[in-house]
């Protein structure tokens, strides 16, 4: 049995990964989940390495998840967040990159409102770059943690029917998930109001629905998306209550899916909008498990990138 070696310097998106690479990350993450159950939840693997969290967009959850992941591997973590960062003071991204490079970090974890920023930094920086969400482009670690959560419950990805519901247009979570799930052989359905489903998305190999019920029918996995109320979502909808009436997931609609179907949500949830509390807190919900899997997946990503980095030097 020869395992595929990891040769990437950066983790920028699911789009660039082969099936073997995706499976390597998922398998590695599965082993890292065990570290969280130990009395000492820390291994010395990345001792003396520095991870810079560079978040140009606010995100407590993803940042904390990367922070815990890095610390469990014994790396040191430095946080740059948009509020205090120099971009507010007018610094260009290229200058920011040069400044970071001078501090000689081993990894930079980037979140930015514009697609392609992590890729640009990856070209400029010698250190490893992890995309923690760029515009509406990709959010690879989110798709990977969704996949480990699904595998944990279903034992596989291939052959499953996965329904993704909500703002398909502006969601990087959807893009990364479609790429990952179709690549691993799942049947993917997307559902949302016409204003929130981009034309031509079926070319990615997904079934498109503009009603919730047929998307849910017989699904193994239901992935509800966050309505981004602070961004574009409000202008694309007549009203929140109408959205909730047509696309909100409640216990009755959940019965359309398979009896053993699971419900995922990338968080933070708008309770009572896209999902009712009854479903979110119900027995089919694996939303909190996703958070735990997030740490394991991010540990796996940093670990694999560290191997490449060491091999290069």
């Amino acid at each position: 049995m020869t395992e595929p070696a990891w040769t990437r310097k950066d983790l920028l998106g699911i789009g660039e990964l082969s099936v073997a690479e995706i499976e390597l990350i998922l398998n590695t993450a599965e082993s890292f989940a065990e570290v969280a159950e130990r009395p000492v939840k820390k291994v010395p693997t990345l001792r003396g390495k520095t991870v810079v969290n560079l978040f140009f967009e606010p995100s407590t959850r993803t940042r904390v998840s990367f922070e815990i992941a890095a610390q469990r591997l014994s790396a040191d973590v430095v946080n740059f967040t948009s509020a205090g960062s120099s971009q507010v003071k007018g610094e260009t991204l290229a200058d920011t990159a040069k400044n970071i490079a001078s501090m000689a970090p081993d990894f930079v974890v980037v979140r930015h409102a514009h697609a392609g920023v992590p890729a640009m930094l990856a070209r400029q920086l010698e250190c490893g770059v992890v995309n923690a969400g760029d515009g509406a482009h990709e959010h690879p670690t989110q798709a990977l943690l969704d996949a480990t959560t699904i595998r944990l419950h279903k034992g596989r990805i291939a052959g499953l029917t996965v329904a993704m519901v909500g703002d398909i247009m502006h969601s990087r979570v959807v893009r990364s998930n479609i790429l990952l799930l179709t690549r691993l052989g799942a049947r993917v359905r997307v559902a949302g109001p016409r204003t929130m489903v981009p034309r031509g998305i079926e070319t990615l190999g997904v079934e498109v629905h503009h009603e919730l019920e047929p998307a849910l029918a017989g699904a193994d996995v239901v992935m509800m998306l966050r309505l981004q109320l602070e961004r574009q979502s409000r202008t694309l909808l007549p009203s929140l209550s109408e959205y909730s009436r047509l696309f909100g997931l409640d216990a009755e609609r959940m019965r359309l899916a398979k009896p053993d179907a699971i419900v995922l949500h990338p968080g933070p949830m708008n309770r009572g909008v896209e999902i009712t509390s009854e479903v979110a807190d119900g027995s089919q919900s694996v939303i909190l498990e996703q958070v735990g899997q997030g740490v394991a997946v991010r540990m796996a990503a940093l670990y694999l990138l560290a191997g490449t980095r060491e091999a290069r030097s």
């Binding site: 398998n27 065990e34 130990r38 291994v43 693997t45 670990y303 560290a306 980095r309």
Partner: protein, 184 residues
């Protein structure tokens, strides 16, 4: 780099006999099975630990609990990740506090694997003692580490490789000595 088989040191029957003797030495030293945990270091320390548990059960009428340890995350060389990136889970069957752990590994060479295993075990608790059992001690230590239970001492040259195979992983059980030859 080519590996050429030079000699078979132990065949399946001889390996079984050696492990039987080691199992006897372990229970003799610990005066039985009480408080004993056998821990296999992945990969080939695991079938070795299983064989030792089976032999101890035959001798004492009671099977000691067995754990597995993956030491990948405790290695002192990150450049080993790229060629062999897979990390597997570690599992210890019970609280190791106050127990005597016997670490099993197929080959003792530089001692770095054993050092990493000691670091890993300390993160799981504080055992009363940790002993080391190896099927083959090939010399060339780089750290002050020695084995308490040794199957065979095999003096080797630097260009030689000890290849241990177990049926559960490799389809057959044997210990071979190979020689590294430069290509061309």
């Amino acid at each position: 780099m080519n590996l050429v088989a030079k000699a078979t040191i132990l065949d399946a029957a001889e390996t079984a006999r050696v492990l039987r003797r080691m199992a006897g030495e372990i229970v003799e030293a610990q005066r039985g099975v009480e408080g004993l945990i056998i821990v296999g270091i992945r990969s080939r320390g695991v079938p070795m630990a299983e064989a030792i548990c089976t032999e101890i059960e035959r001798l004492e009428g009671k099977r000691p609990p067995m754990g597995t340890l993956d030491i990948t995350l405790y290695r002192d060389d990150l450049s080993l990740i790229a060629p062999k990136p897979v990390v597997r889970e570690s599992h210890l069957p019970e609280d190791i506090e106050g127990k005597v752990l016997v670490l099993c590994d197929d080959v003792l060479y530089t001692g770095r694997t054993a050092r990493a295993a000691l670091d890993a075990l300390v993160d799981f608790g504080r055992p009363r003692a940790i002993r080391l059992a190896v099927l083959v001690d090939r010399g060339w230590r780089e750290l002050p580490i020695h084995a308490d239970f040794v199957g065979r001492k095999v003096p080797t040259r630097a260009n030689e490789v000890i290849k241990v195979s177990f049926e559960a992983i490799d389809g057959e059980t044997s210990v071979q000595i190979l020689e590294r030859q430069a290509e061309g």
